[in-house]
């Protein structure tokens, strides 16, 4: 069923082309609804502690296959994805115009994304999990850049792509390490082997890498920066991807791997700490924003941090006795708030989209007093915001209470230094909640209350069409329903998910004895909520006075500034680096090559202790050999010191003839013959080429002396001499030439051993030498003859 959306996506462009009269979204709508109904069928199974599993082989030899594993956690996410997916598709039908927009692209990307998300939450194999993970990155990239003619869209798409793919790759590293340590790619088997993994060398590294993946995807500090820029996407995309589903993939990952990693204190500290930091940071900066969707983006960041910190706290339950401690709450609270957040944030984004659609702006400074004209949107926004702020009688209140309970419990946890630092957690959580309260009010009242600003709006605001309101209204109703019947949601969805998350602690969903109720006595958390409401209200009413303080923060010191300067510095630095060594001068590259040859060869020679000279194996010197060598050296010196080209050519001829003479001395008549002919032809060719060259000024005077070149040249010469000496002194295997001597006449019927080797024993080499010569000949011919039109005259005409 995972592949159902992406397979259906094949038909989307066809439907878009053929049936122009009907909005393509109506056909697409069928898919998530079908899936949603299909997945509700599993609720009974997971409630009884069971699971459903099906698999599709992909690369069995590498232990990689698509295993769809549905337990409580997967089912919860699957229902969120398909349920909110259906509502978003419904909303997008009215949001996107069927004549102006490229709907085929939109729905194909969206369905791709849906498959990818379902794949993430249901995969049991970590490699396919990674596959789907990257597919969400790609489809999210495509969706953010949907209006690709805008600069902002492309910038946001690129930024989110870079950050999430960075995290994804880190995560792949962690997965591979896990796969090696656990000797399996199956998550269930990893969880079963969790106790064996702990002591292993790379356990912490794998933990950090997997967390990096989760943090980048779930927009945790400091990787949250892509999320506000991703708000350039169409609003249905923001509502779906960047509030309800994709950003929760990281949370899913953390929840899924809690049984594997929870035994480590690093995991608890990182997840809880980063989560709380993100919670505070996102809430703090949400108040600064003026764009509706930016407020929601920062609020999403903050709420994701909240859930993340709860997931971290829930991992503590692995260390303490589940019966006595409060930490079993944390897992329940995390999952419960995850549902709440998906529901109310989806509705808020849809409202922001409606406001944008009906007034033409999302800038909160231009909006106000829309309550009268848009009553339904206002109601939805109000319910969503109050739930976000954590007020009764909305779903958010319950999860906020549970959250405060968990942070208070953290304070008393006396393991891993929590007893000294733990007090920070409830304080940070409380301050963050105050800011959450402020921006929730800011969002809803600055938009809908106050005076109408007629002059700043280009169109007359009016209530959205009914179709557009259906989805947000359904979500708003759900927000209220969750408050009144929290235990139904808890029993059907949350408890099985908690069992999956804390697999070692419970064996059946009904053992999770968390009872949520709106009223549970005068507890400290209720007092804290009252404090939040009190301080929040005061700060909200005086907001005009202190909000400009945010402008004191310079743009460069923000994390976005850091990202921008990092990108710039990276580009410039790499540019400078490549310009530094890619000089475009051939001489420089040759120096690189020669120096590396010298360094590598000499280092190998002496590190491996391979240098050895065995004087006994040398043949005795003779007089004419020495004389020829002197000749050769003289000619070479002449080439190097030659003042004109012609002298150098003549001297080169001298070198060639001396070498031929060497061949004579060492009794190789065939080589001597060939060498003489080739040398003569080469000299003639040099003369042919040289008279066409322009007179080089530098060459006419002197070659000049460069110490660097001299050192390199001397280095290469000495290295090669040393290598030749060592190679000659250590002959390991006897030569095979005796065989040729013995069989040259009896086997091949020839007297000239060199020629017989060339054409008989080793005829293949000769064949390809012939080929080389043919290619060279054809190449020369075509270079001289072929003058492409339009290239202008070649050099020879000068």
């Amino acid at each position: 069923m995972i592949f159902f959306p992406v397979l259906a996506a094949i038909f989307v462009p066809i439907l878009f082309r053929k049936l122009k009269s009907i909005h393509t979204g109506w056909f697409v709508l069928i898919i998530p609804i079908t899936l949603f109904i299909y997945y509700t069928g599993f609720i009974q199974t997971t409630m009884n502690g069971g699971h459903a599993i099906s698999s599709l082989e992909w690369i069995p030899s590498l232990d990689i296959s698509f295993v769809s594993y549905i337990d409580g956690l997967s089912l919860l996410f699957s229902l969120l994805i398909t349920g909110i997916g259906a509502l978003v598709v419904l909303y997008s039908i009215f949001y996107l115009d069927k004549t102006r927009e490229k709907l085929n692209n939109f729905y194909v990307y969206l369905l791709m994304f849906m498959t990818a998300m379902l794949g993430i939450v249901q995969s049991d194999n970590i490699i396919t999990l990674y596959l789907f993970w990257e597919l969400t990155s790609i489809s999210s990239f495509l969706l953010i850049g949907y209006w690709y003619t805008r600069d902002g869209s492309r910038f946001g798409a690129l930024k989110s792509m870079l950050i999430t793919v960075f995290g994804g790759l880190m995560m792949l590293g962690g997965f591979v390490l896990l796969g090696i340590m656990g000797d399996t790619y199956s998550i269930r088997e990893l969880i079963a082997n969790a106790s064996n993994l702990v002591g292993q060398e790379f356990f912490i590294l794998a933990l950090v890498l997997v967390l990096l993946g989760a943090f980048t995807k779930s927009a945790q500090f400091p990787f949250y920066i892509w999320l506000p820029d991703a708000m350039e996407a169409p609003t249905p995309v923001s509502a779906y991807l960047h509030s309800a589903t994709m950003v929760k993939a990281g949370l899913y990952l953390v929840a899924r791997f809690t049984p594997v990693f929870a035994v480590s204190e690093v995991w608890i500290w990182l997840v809880t700490g980063i989560g709380l930091l993100t919670l505070f940071w996102g809430a703090f900066f949400a108040v600064k924003q003026t764009d509706l969707k930016a407020i929601l983006a920062f609020s999403t960041v903050s709420q994701l941090g909240l859930i993340m910190s709860l997931l971290g706290a829930s991992a503590i339950s692995y260390h303490v006795d589940a019966g006595t401690a409060l930490f079993k709450f944390a897992g329940f609270a995390a999952v419960f708030h995850l549902i709440n957040h998906a529901v109310f944030k989806g509705s808020l984004f849809m409202v922001a989209g409606i406001v944008d659609h009906e007034t033409g702006t999302r800038d909160i400074r231009k909006l106000g007093g829309l309550m009268g004209v848009m009553p339904i949107s206002f109601t939805v926004a109000f319910i969503g915001s109050m739930s976000m702020a954590g007020l009764p009688p909305f779903g958010g209140f319950l999860s906020k209470e549970l959250f405060l309970t968990s942070t208070l419990a953290l304070k008393d946890f006396n393991l891993f230094n929590f007893s000294t630092w733990g007090i920070i957690f409830p304080i940070v959580a409380w301050i963050a909640s105050v800011f959450t309260f402020i921006y929730s009010f800011y969002f809803v009242f600055k938009t809908f209350a106050g005076k109408r600003k007629k002059e700043s709006l280009s169109v007359e605001p009016k209530e959205a069409p009914v179709g557009m309101l259906i989805a947000p209204v359904i979500l708003a109703v759900l927000v209220v329903v969750i408050f009144f019947i929290p235990n139904v949601v808890g029993d059907t969805l949350v408890n099985p998910a908690v069992v999956a998350m804390q697999a070692g602690l419970y064996s059946h969903p009904s053992e999770v004895l968390v009872h949520v109720s709106a009223w549970h006595g005068w507890t400290p958390e209720l007092l804290m909520t009252l404090g939040i409401i009190g301080l929040g209200s005061i700060l909200f009413l005086t907001m005009r006075k202190w909000q400009p303080l945010y402008n004191l923060q310079p743009e460069l010191l923000s994390l976005n500034g850091l990202y921008d300067s990092l990108m710039m510095a990276g580009e410039k630095g790499m540019n400078r680096l490549s310009r530094l060594y890619m000089t475009g001068v051939f001489r420089t590259y040759l120096i690189y090559m020669f120096v590396s040859i010298v360094v590598i060869t000499l280092a190998t020679l002496f590190i491996k202790d391979a240098f050895k000279v065995d004087f006994n194996s040398f043949a005795p010197l003779n007089a004419y050999g020495i004389l020829t060598a002197v000749l050769l050296i003289l000619s070479v010196v002449m080439i190097l010191t030659a003042k004109t080209r012609i002298t150098a050519v003549i001297a080169l001829g001298g070198v060639g003839y001396s070498v031929a003479f060497f061949f004579v001395i060492y009794k190789a008549p065939d080589l001597a013959l060939t060498q003489l002919v080739i040398e003569t032809i080469t000299v003639v060719l040099f003369l042919l080429a040289f008279h066409r060259l322009p007179e080089l000024k530098r060459h006419g005077e002197s070659k000049g002396f460069r110490l660097g070149n001299f050192i390199v040249a001397a280095g290469v010469g000495i290295t090669m001499a040393l290598v030749a000496l060592s190679a000659h002194s250590q002959k390991l295997i006897p030569s095979i030439s005796q065989f040729y001597k013995d069989t040259v006449y009896s086997e091949a019927g020839g007297g000239n051993i060199v020629n017989v080797i060339l054409v008989d024993y080793r005829g293949f080499d000769t064949l390809f030498e012939i080929a080389v010569l043919s290619i060279a000949g054809i190449g020369v011919y075509s270079m001289i003859r072929l003058k492409l039109p339009g290239k202008g005259s070649t050099d020879e005409s000068k």
Binding site: Y624, T647, A651, G653, F661, V664, E796
Partner: protein
Amino acid sequence: MMTFIWIGLMLVVLSILGLLLRIFWGPSIPDRVIALDAFGVTLISAIALLSVLFGTGFFMEVILLIAVMSFIGTVAFSKFIEKGEIIERDRNS
């Protein structure tokens, strides 16, 4: 007998060295070309003497070839000095 050949070889080598000096310092290009031509001739005699020393007849071809090559080389150089070109033809035809 061998002593004579050795002495001859020494003399040939000395003349080769003298020719090399001429090639090296030769004030004009023709000086050098002439020296190179003579270099070829001395090379022929050196190889002939060596063949006698080695007692082999395999280097006769080499001697013939050097003679031919030395001639061709000298002619090519001469023509180059004379006309600035070795093979004359119109490249653009």
